[in-house]
Structures are given as C-alpha cells and as structure tokens.
C-alpha cells in the first residue's frame, strides 16, 4: 500500500523533481494568491498569466530564455493594463479583457511560426511539470524568497489595499505604488510557476488554495499557511493520480486543488447550517431571552 503512495516518488527522479517544483510553486502561490484573493485580483492574475504567452513563444522561436520572455510579457501586460485604464477611462475589467485576448492571440500567432507549434503551445498553456531541471528549482526557490520578502515588507499597505483604497491613501501609503508592487509580485509568481503548471492553469494554484484558506482562517498568516498546505497536498495527489492513471500532471494538480476547495466549502456550509439550526432551537427553547411571547 505504501508503495502505491510513495513508490512513484522514490523510484522516479523526474517525479521527485516535479514534487519539489510543485511544493515551491505552491508556497509562492500561497503567499501571492492570498493577496490576489483578498484584493479581488483574480481576473488580473489570469490576464498576467496569459500575458506571458507571447513572451515565452518568442523565446522558444528565437532561442532565448523562456523565463526572460515570460517576464517581458508580464511587464508589457502590467503596463498595458495601467495605461489603458488611466488614459482611456475604461473600467479595469474591460482594459484587462482587451489585453488578455490581445496578448493570447499574439502568443498563438508567434508560436504558429514554430515548426513544433502544437507541442510547444501545449507546454506553454498546460506546463511541463515532468520536465523540471535543477536550475528551474533554483530559480523557483529564488522567486519564493523574493515573493516572501516583498509580502513581508509590504504587509501593511497590502492589507490596507485589501480593505479599502481610501484607507490605504489616508494611512500614508500610495495606492498606485503598492498596487503596482502587488501586481509585480503576482507577475513574478506567474513567471516562476508557468513551467510547472502552465499559463492556463497557474491561476488555479493562485486562487483555489488561497480561497480555501479564506474559508477557515481569521488571520492573513494562517490563510497563507492553509493555502500552502492545500497547494502542496494537491501537488502530491495530482502527481500521484497522473502517475497511476496516466493523465496530464499539471491539470491533475490544479483540478485537485479546486476539488479541495469545493469539499471545504461544503463542510463550511454544513457547519453554518447546523449552527443556524442550533440558534433557531435555542430561541425556541428560551423565548424569554428575546422577549418573544408564545400564545398557545
């Protein structure tokens, strides 16, 4: 039985490497994803994830670093969203939607010039979790440290931004400056994660574990820890399912994280329903507490 659960990771170095990468990506996504969920940046996060596609496609076509290409793509996306929103007085989601499809289309156009179009595009969109190298792990570890340092240093303005822009500004923190730093942190997370789970699926690891944390946690730090645990658990189960059922690894990881969220949301709803029933019974048994008058 133990062989079923642990054997694949003991016997296969490539699967072990994938697990290490998944753990690092889960930790990065837990920190950045917490603020994405709290500030309501899911759509922006998704757009940033797709914004890296043309950069990575160009990197593959012209033979430079995919990470560099992704970073350039994310930078262009961030600047574009900022300019379109500010100059043209469009709502944020319209600006993001425009750039989202524009960048994705550009990525597909660039990639269509490649001889291995379908295979490369699949790797960009859905990741290459089973092809993680030591240098990938090192880069992801550096990204994890950078994201943790930024999140710790900016914890106060990030927290204020999660509550109210006006409160942030009147507390002496520039909304524009710290919003952009938060976006840069999310962009770094996307760049560090896309090789493992792909640009289409990275949002799953950004959102689902952090949203699970938000269901239970009463403090931001606890929310991050819950998110990291859910992400790591999903990585392990996803890789195991992928190994035994011969299905796509990145998608299995993300699907597992969404399943964990769904299961936890059901548990929370049942708990609320039970607490509500208890309150009703309590009121019924002790009418005098609220001054109700029973007429029989």
């Amino acid at each position: 039985m133990g062989n079923f659960f642990f054997g694949p990771f003991v016997d296969n170095e490539f699967l072990r490497q994938s697990l290490y990468a998944g753990i690092l990506v889960s930790a990065i996504c837990a920190v950045a994803g917490t603020f994405v969920v709290l500030r309501g940046l899911a759509f922006t996060g998704d757009a940033l994830a797709h914004g890296v596609v043309p950069g990575v496609a160009a990197a593959l076509l012209f033979g430079f670093s995919g990470v560099l290409g992704a970073a350039i793509g994310a930078g262009v996306m961030m600047s574009g969203v900022s300019v379109v929103t500010r100059r043209y007085r469009l709502s944020g989601d319209t600006a993001i939607g425009l750039l989202f499809v524009g960048m994705l289309a550009l990525g597909v156009i660039i990639q269509s010039r490649s001889e291995s179009f379908a295979g490369d595009l699949t790797n960009i969109l859905f990741g290459e979790v089973l092809g993680v190298s030591n240098s990938d792990l090192m880069w992801q570890f550096i990204a994890l440290v950078a994201v943790c340092v930024v999140a710790w240093l900016c914890r106060r303005p990030f927290l204020l931004l999660s509550v109210d822009d006006g409160l942030t500004e009147t507390s002496g923190f520039s909304v524009k400056k710290y919003h952009n730093i938060m976006l840069a942190m999310v962009a770094l997370t996307v760049v560090a994660s896309f090789q493992t789970v792909g640009t289409l699926l990275v949002l799953g690891l950004l959102i689902a574990p952090a949203a699970t944390g938000a269901l239970f946690a009463r403090r931001i730090g606890i929310m991050m820890v819950v998110a990291a645990v859910v992400g790591i658990f999903s990585t392990y189960v996803g890789l195991l399912v992928s190994y035994h059922a011969n299905v796509a690894a990145g998608a299995s990881i993300v699907f597992c994280s969404v399943l964990v969220f769904t299961a936890c949301a059901v548990v929370v709803e049942v708990q609320r329903w039970q607490a509500h029933r208890k309150d009703i019974h309590h009121d019924h048994d002790q009418p005098h507490v609220h001054g109700h008058v029973h007429v029989s």
Binding site: G40, G166, T170, G172, F216, R218, R219
Partner: protein, 238 residues
C-alpha cells in the same frame, strides 16, 4: 491657537465639475462642524477633499497648517461605507490595529503604546466585546463600531467622519455622540457628515449643503425652517 482646518473660497468636485463652490470656514481645536444635506449634496466630496483623497478644484484649504493628505498620522478619516469584504479573514482587533499603520509606517514594530491605544479604542466603542471575531461575521452596526474604533486608534488631531451613525441604533448613535464629545474635549477638531439633524445639536457650526451652501452658522441660525425647506423641500421635525 491656530486653526485645525481653514478653507477659503474652496470648490470641491470630481473632474472639471465642481459640486460645491465658495466654501469658507475655519475650525479651531475642539470644534465640531456638522455637514447636513441630501445625497449628492457634496458632503462626502468635501470630506474626501479634506482627507486628501480628492484634489480641491479651486480656492485655498489647509489641514493642520498643511495641504490635505500630507499629515496622515494626525488626521483620521471614516469613509461612508467602509468596505467589509465577505472574504476578508480579519479579526476585529486586527482591523482596529490598522488604525495605527499611519504611525507605524512600513517597518516599525508596534510597541506597548500602540497595543494600549488599540485596546482602549475597542473599549470606547464597545468593539472589545467581539474583538476576536472575524469582521465578516458581524452585523452592520458591529462593523461600524469596529471601523469607528479603527479611526479612534489613530489618536488624530482632526477627525473626518462620513455618516458615522449610519446603521447604528439609538444607543449606538448616543455612543457616537459621546465619543465625539470626548475627542473634542481632548482638542480634536471634528467634521461630521450626517442625515440626522439631531447630530447637529452640539455642533459649533452647521453647514447645510445642496450642491451649494444653503446656510452656515450655529445650529439655531443654520437650521431654520426656511433653510431646511430650501435644502430638503420640506421642514424636518427636530
């Protein structure tokens, strides 16, 4: 004693459209200015201008001798509808502690004085009774008390309160009136927007707004039947 807030020929609004023009007032330490008017009359815009969130369109205004929005740790601002996200996993005491961030800046660690101020602010508003509960689980009135405690925790010299009694019952409204009185006693200048005429009873100055200044002065001189009829279309009973 120098004025906490001074405005001369001030026009406030958004974009190029002024909502209220020709605002002239001066507020000394311990004084209360109450802004009364219909929705869209310019009350909130004036408060946002004093908080530095909206730029003044014309005229002169200074808060504590400087441009609005420059003395963060000395000015407390309670917005009209403080956002209380349903997903925000924050306890009441964490939300109140955010009131100290203007003093703490990016990196300074909270000290004993900061913790004491947060504790005291929760005690004063009654939020201490549910300090460990998540904000998202509280009623509207309890959330309002929490946000009030957050503003008090700043220990500001100027308080800008946008409808602080909204969502509160009679006891809650009386509690807010007491808090305002306590703050004034310690020299804090308070500007408060409200729909409740009774909130103006203890004010030093009342400004009746309807996208212009309908009347201004002490409660008895500003809240005349004629001014109220002009502002609201009818006379409200006191």
């Amino acid at each position: 004693m120098s004025a906490r807030i001074e405005a001369t020929g001030l026009a406030v609004g958004y974009g190029h459209r002024p909502i209220v023009e020709g605002l002239n007032f001066s507020l000394q330490p311990g004084e209360l200015l109450v802004l009364i008017g219909t929705n869209g009359s310019g009350k909130s815009t004036l408060l946002k201008t004093l908080a530095g969130l909206v730029a003044a369109q014309s005229g002169d205004v200074n808060v504590l001798g400087a441009a609005p929005g420059t003395q963060h740790s000395l000015v407390g601002y309670l917005p009209q509808h403080p956002v209380s996200s349903h997903t925000l996993p924050l306890r009441v005491e964490d939300v109140v502690a955010m009131g100290r961030y203007a003093h703490l800046g990016l990196t300074r660690r909270a000290r004993g004085e900061d913790h004491r101020t947060v504790q005291e602010s929760m005690e004063r508003t009654g939020a201490i009774a549910y300090k460990s509960r998540p904000l998202r689980d509280l009623s509207g009135g309890q959330q309002q008390r929490t946000h009030l405690a957050q503003v008090l925790a700043r220990r500001a010299d100027v308080l800008l309160l946008d409808e602080p009694t909204a969502g509160l019952d009679l006891v809650g409204r009386q509690a807010v009136a007491e808090l305002v009185a306590q703050e004034r006693a310690r020299g804090v200048a308070v500007v408060m927007a409200t729909h409740e005429l009774s909130d103006a009873d203890t004010a030093d100055m009342v400004m009746l707004l309807a996208q212009r200044v309908v009347s201004q002065g002490s409660p008895t001189t500003a809240l005349t039947d004629a001014a109220l009829r002009e502002c609201f279309g009818f006379t409200q009973p006191h």
